[in-house]
Amino acid sequence: MSYYLVQTLNALSFSVLLMLTGLGLSLVLSLMNFVNLTHGSFFLLGGYVAIHWIGAGAPWWLAFPAAFVIAGAVGLVLDRFPFGRFYPRTHLMQVLLTYGLSVIFADLMRWGFGADTMSLPTPELLRGVVFVAGLPFPIYRLFIIVSGGALALALWYAIDRTLWGAAIRACVIDRGIVETLGLNTRRIFTVGVVIAAGLGGLGGALGSGMLSAYPGLDEEVLLLALLVVVVGGLGSFGGTVLSALLLGFVTTFSRVWLPEFANFLSLGIMAAVLVIWPSGLVVRKMRPV
């Protein structure tokens, strides 16, 4: 029994990790209708930043804000050029642009940070275990579950419950109306991209404690994030959380019972979801024409 409890916790921590990978992507997609495939690069960048930050001896808890700020700064630069002129374009053009950029970033990071696998020097405080019904469970995983959960709540609150979130949502529906209210839509989009990039970096900083950081992680994360966000349905933040939980639990428990077929099962279930619900798990109901 306690065995399944811990495996459930494992599934939960992996789900939260998946959610963390998807947060930034989900934000720009659901709020600004912008597909940002450089998201995996932000994630890896955040991981590298955190690793070097702690490696340099700076206070560990500042590594996460540092990753947020640096990734966000890159987001700000990208927003100036070339993202800005692609906000009103089709998804296809956005996919192409940002995928191309992610290829460039992957190479730049390999150049700058080297090709070696690196792992986060986790602080002593987070390195221990707690005993769950007699079985050990790493504190770092609890840390990820708690901080990921808190982040998700904060985002949900900011988007659904604050004026700022309402403004961004309104931008997507009708930029003109928002501008007549005296808000600068261009600036709102900038803020959205910067926060999304920062979230990518923050996710990477947290995730590098579990995943390590190495060239190619950006692409793996991008794939998972895209899967999670798209299967969740582009309309809502709740969908992303739901599909992260689905993918996390399916993957974890297929590893428990059928480790050889873990990938196949996860892919199969995601495909089935998209076949049954072609617009993802959570869809805004709309009149078709």
Partner: protein, 408 residues
């Protein structure tokens, strides 16, 4: 021999970029693309290193290049009295791309010697091409058993291990020193993992050992926790495991995170605890691990190379750098035997088959049946080194391990 770091930085061997500039200049001058003539009036010997500078094995590729450049530099840029040109080609870890590169090297660059190759898939993919062209080829990393067996070829040498050599010795050591039953295996579910683990199981059973479950996980597993929990639940006497690169780091760290590092003995082929590729990232999570490998920075044979490498790259060498350096030593020995006349392939081959070459991996003989190196295999245990960091310490040596070869 000592080298100053600055010299290494400034004057590596002639690289392709310089070659390009030179050929462009000669093309302008003569209106033709012709091979560069070195100062001595002779065309240089062209050695091509096929490795991954992008893709999943990029870190290994950089180490390999560093290892080979070091050897060429150490040889004064010459082998058998002739200048040596090194061409490095990126295969991205993709067989399709490697095949393209090899054809280009043979057909356009007209290289004399091919070496390198990390992935077994790449090695097998280029096998027919180099065999058809009768091109001298030295495989530095790829361990696929098949290349010592049905896919061996008269001009393909492998101055490195086969999967069997590591799996087999791993089983001998485990059976003798660790446990005769109650162990399990856990492998990355692709060709290399299947070979290492399969060879381990065969020998272990032949010895009379009894094994429990065999677990497989997909290549590129992000979260090992569910499997680690299964390990905890099974609490086996040992686990024989194989994962490459980042997977190895994650596995070892997650075993540590769940506080199982002291409870479960982890044994594997050397790549699981590679000194350069895995241990720096895995850190203390690697401590206590046992592996069988043809390479160890602590082995006497590689002491000199290890010191040199550490001076140049500020890190201890792992398999990739050492094996490629050793490959260079083998190539050099062959070229010296023909005094630089690389066209005498059979004489060169005869030299390598007739007497051992002294390399950073130890004395290396070649099996005349399949050109496969016969090597000492070290049993390394990861302990704290002099600087307190994890270090592959040699605890035993199985001398002259020979792959069963074509008859297997």
């Amino acid at each position: 021999m000592t080298f100053s770091e600055s010299r290494l930085m400034t004057s590596t061997s002639i690289t392709r970029r310089q070659l390009l500039a030179a050929s462009a200049a000669s093309a302008l001058g003569l209106g033709l693309m012709r091979p560069v003539r070195a100062a001595g009036g002779e065309t240089p010997i062209k050695i091509a290193l096929i490795t991954s500078l992008s893709g999943p094995f990029a870190a290994l590729g950089e180490s390999m290049r560093a290892g080979l450049e070091l050897l060429i530099l150490e040889s004064g840029g010459k082998m058998g009295g002739r200048q040596v040109t090194l061409l490095v080609e990126d295969d991205q870890g993709k067989p399709d791309e490697a095949v393209r590169k090899v054809r280009k090297l043979l057909s356009q660059d007209k290289v004399d010697v091919l070496c390198g190759v990390i992935s077994a898939a790449v090695a097998l993919a280029i096998r027919d091409i180099v065999a058809d062209a009768k091109a001298l080829t030295f495989i530095s990393i790829a361990a696929a058993n098949g290349l010592a067996r049905e896919a061996s070829s008269p001009y393909i040498f492998r101055p490195t291990k086969t999967s069997w050599m590591l799996g087999h010795t791993g089983a001998l050591w485990t059976y003798d020193k660790i446990a005769k039953e109650g162990g399990i295996t856990l492998g990355s579910d692709y060709a290399a993992g299947r070979e290492y683990v399969g060879d381990f199981i065969n020998t272990y059973r032949q010895q009379g050992g009894k094994l429990g479950q065999q677990l497989w996980t997909p290549l590129g597993t992000a979260d090992f926790a569910p499997i680690v929990m299964n390990l905890a639940a099974l609490s086996p006497a040992f686990v024989y495991a194989f994962f490459p690169g980042a997977d190895a780091v994650r596995f070892l760290q997650q075993v540590r995170d769940f506080k199982l590092q002291d409870k479960i003995r982890v044994i594997g082929p050397g790549a699981l605890f590679d000194q350069e590729d895995v241990l720096p990232a895995a850190g203390d999570a690697g401590l206590g691990g046992v592996n069988t490998y043809h390479q160890s920075p602590g082995a006497p044979a590689s002491a000199e190379f290890a010191a040199l490498y550490q001076k140049v790259r500020n890190r201890l060498p792992g398999e990739a750098s050492t094996s490629t350096y050793a490959t260079g030593q083998v190539i050099r020995a062959g070229i010296e035997a023909v005094a630089g006349d690389i066209a005498q392939k059979d004489k060169l081959k005869e030299r390598l088959l007739s007497a051992p070459v002294s390399t950073a991996l130890g004395p290396m003989r070649f099996d005349s049946r399949n050109n496969q190196a016969i090597l000492d295999i070290y049993v390394n245990e990861v302990r704290r080194g002099q600087d307190g960091k994890p270090f592959n310490t040699v605890v035993h040596t199985y001398p002259a391990i020979q792959d069963p070869g074509p008859k297997a």
